[in-house]
Amino acid sequence: MFLRGIFAAILVMAGIGTAQAWPVGSPSGHYADPGITDTEITIGLFGPQSGPLRNFGFDAIGAAQMWYDMVNRSGGIWGRKIRLVIEDDKCDPTAANAVVRKLVTVDKVFLLNGGSCTAAIVATQEYITREKVPTMMLNAAGDNGVFPPTRYMFGAFGGTQLTVGGTIADFVARQLKAKKIAYLGSDDDFGAANLAAAKFMAHKHGAELVAVERVPRNIVDVTAPILRIRQANPDAVMITTYPQPATLAMQKISEFQMKMPIIAAVQAVPNPAALVKAVNNPAAFTNFYYGSPLNDLTDGPRQQWVLKMYKTAFPDRKPTAFMAYGLPSAQAITYALLLAGPTPTRESFVEAMSHLHFETGVMAGPIEFDEHKRDGHNASIFIKFDGTQSTRMPGVYVNEYRGNK
């Protein structure tokens, strides 16, 4: 009963349904596309279930799974139960391509819901577009999959790297009132994207990036970039690297006794407790913040319904930080199936997805798509973390930069 209540409340929030059970349709018995019958609709759900990047997707898949299970328990969509075929792509582009081809040609799924790593999901884009299979990324940032937008691929349910960079600059300039911002990011596509958005949003608020340092993900000594940042004398330092350079930077900043606020992107701090241990200096966290695409702390009051749902679905498991990231794409799929009517086709489903706008109850901002927009989420909250205590900062921060893509 609890889950149905939550589900109904979200439907009302989404402005899609009413606080009643899912509608029962009048199946036609004839369908233009594979993966759909009068009683069932088949979805290919995939992400890393093994390998070194398992943590990115394992629990996100679990979250999507629990959402679909709840929909099935509530009667399904237009009378159809959702059947999942779950596959492991290991976050590897080659494996992802093989998995997607298998799901489409052997399992004959109606649509795909998967991808926790950008490189892996983007590698499937050509095939997906050619076969016209609607694909909703699971929790990959997916910048290159949604910019430029293509018809069949929807993603960035947690936000792209434009969102990451833009929202940090928005927070630093508006909340922390910084005018001179130093940037430390990666020397890859991720870094290029979040830097462009950070520059735009800083400029919009009358601030500027006074130092821009981009480093490789396997750098072993960050002395040079931190010295350059120190020389620029910034009001705040934003870090959008991967965890290892971020940790080294935190160590070095405290070693050089720099006191300005440090604001890290979510990818720099996948596990705050692990960061504290790795930095090994509590003083480094006296003025530290990190961003999150969720609407609250992972154990905050607004996330409790998800945690409760997870505990019911997987009583023996402990949720990872990425768990809740798996929900929005599953929500979007079920809502779009609802909007597509009792006899959906892949094309009518894509049309429904293209007009979707709803609050997830779990992410910082709404999920919004339109004809020319395939990145769903564009907001972050910020958390002050002193090494032991996490406190949510007021406000939700958005990125307004859409790039030249």
Binding site: R54, L227, P243, N280
Partner: protein, 296 residues
């Protein structure tokens, strides 16, 4: 000026680590002609053995260090005995290629095995062996851990020098490296010497890992540092032990100065530009002797 001195000082610390890893590659290559592509993963494996010993088993740091160094000593010896010695006895067309491929295999085995361990999904660190307030030399800030890294590395290098120069075993190893056939004729057990050199090289890698883990952090991919060790070895001369040390130091300092004066984006390419320059101007490395051509 203070910032430049800081960049150089940090470069020296990082460079000594490159030098130690490079040393483990060079002593192997000198004695066996095999380039060890698993050198970085040996470093990584040692870090995780120590980490598991400290964090999971709750052992003191010194015991974890001994376990890690001994563990890699045994792995190195075992790899030579179980894999390389068999390849050497086989009839492969090109033994050296087969052996180098075997080291790539070892690299994957070590990385795969470590990923089976708990705690490998997050960035981890070993507690630094040397703690306390930083040391100020004018404007230059040095952590005690950094000073410890340099001191231990220099001490290990000195011990290695004394071992090679003055012990019977060390002389046997040198003889094996110089001319294996002549070594056999004067009764040196060359096969056993090769096993020992693998064990020593892996133990050196383990010491490097223990020193750098608190500094560069631990992930199963940290073995990538071997690329920089190769760069250090090429710069110094792949068959020259002092050259590997100077190459490592030079690389650490060059990286920081390039990053500071030119761009941090140039840090990643700086070592490879230096390698190309060295190979173009002096292919045998800065300290290598005249090029040696072997009859195949």
């Amino acid at each position: 000026m203070g910032a430049v001195a800081q960049a150089v000082a940090s470069g020296v610390v990082t460079g000594t680590i490159y030098a130690l890893v490079a040393l483990s590659l060079v002593i192997l290559y000198k004695s066996t002609d095999v380039i060890n592509f698993a050198g970085g993963d040996v470093v990584m494996a040692a870090c995780y053995i120590a980490f598991i010993t400290v964090v999971v088993a709750g052992a003191p740091y010194w015991l974890a260090a001994i376990v890690a160094v001994l563990g890699l000593f045994v792995i190195g010896a075992g790899f030579d005995r179980l894999v390389l010695a068999r390849i050497a006895r086989g009839k492969a067309d090109n033994l050296m290629v087969a052996m180098v491929i075997a080291t790539i295999g070892l690299s994957y085995v070590l990385k795969g095995a470590v990923r089976l361990l708990p705690h490998t999904e997050d960035v981890q660190t070993l507690p630094p062996a040397f703690t306390g307030p930083p040391i100020f030399l004018g404007n230059v800030i040095l952590l005690r851990q950094d000073v410890g890294i340099v001191v231990i590395t220099v001490a290990v290098m000195a011990l290695l020098y004394l071992f090679y120069r003055y012990t019977r075993l060390g002389k046997g190893l040198r003889a094996t490296a110089e001319d294996p056939r002549a070594a056999v004729l004067i009764g040196i057990p060359v096969q056993r010497m090769r096993m020992l050199i693998w064990a020593i090289a892996c133990a050196l890698g383990a010491i490097a890992g223990l020193l750098i883990a608190p500094k560069i952090l631990m992930t199963p991919d940290m073995g990538d540092i071997v690329i920089l060790a190769f760069a250090a070895a090429v710069i110094g001369g792949f068959t020259n032990i002092p050259g590997a040390i100077v190459g490592g130091l030079a690389l650490g300092i060059i990286e920081n100065l390039v990053g500071f004066f030119i761009s941090t984006e140039a840090i990643a390419v700086a070592p490879f530009i230096v390698i190309m320059l060295v190979l173009a101007i002096r292919p045998q490395g800065l300290f290598g002797g005249a090029p040696v051509f072997k009859k195949l």
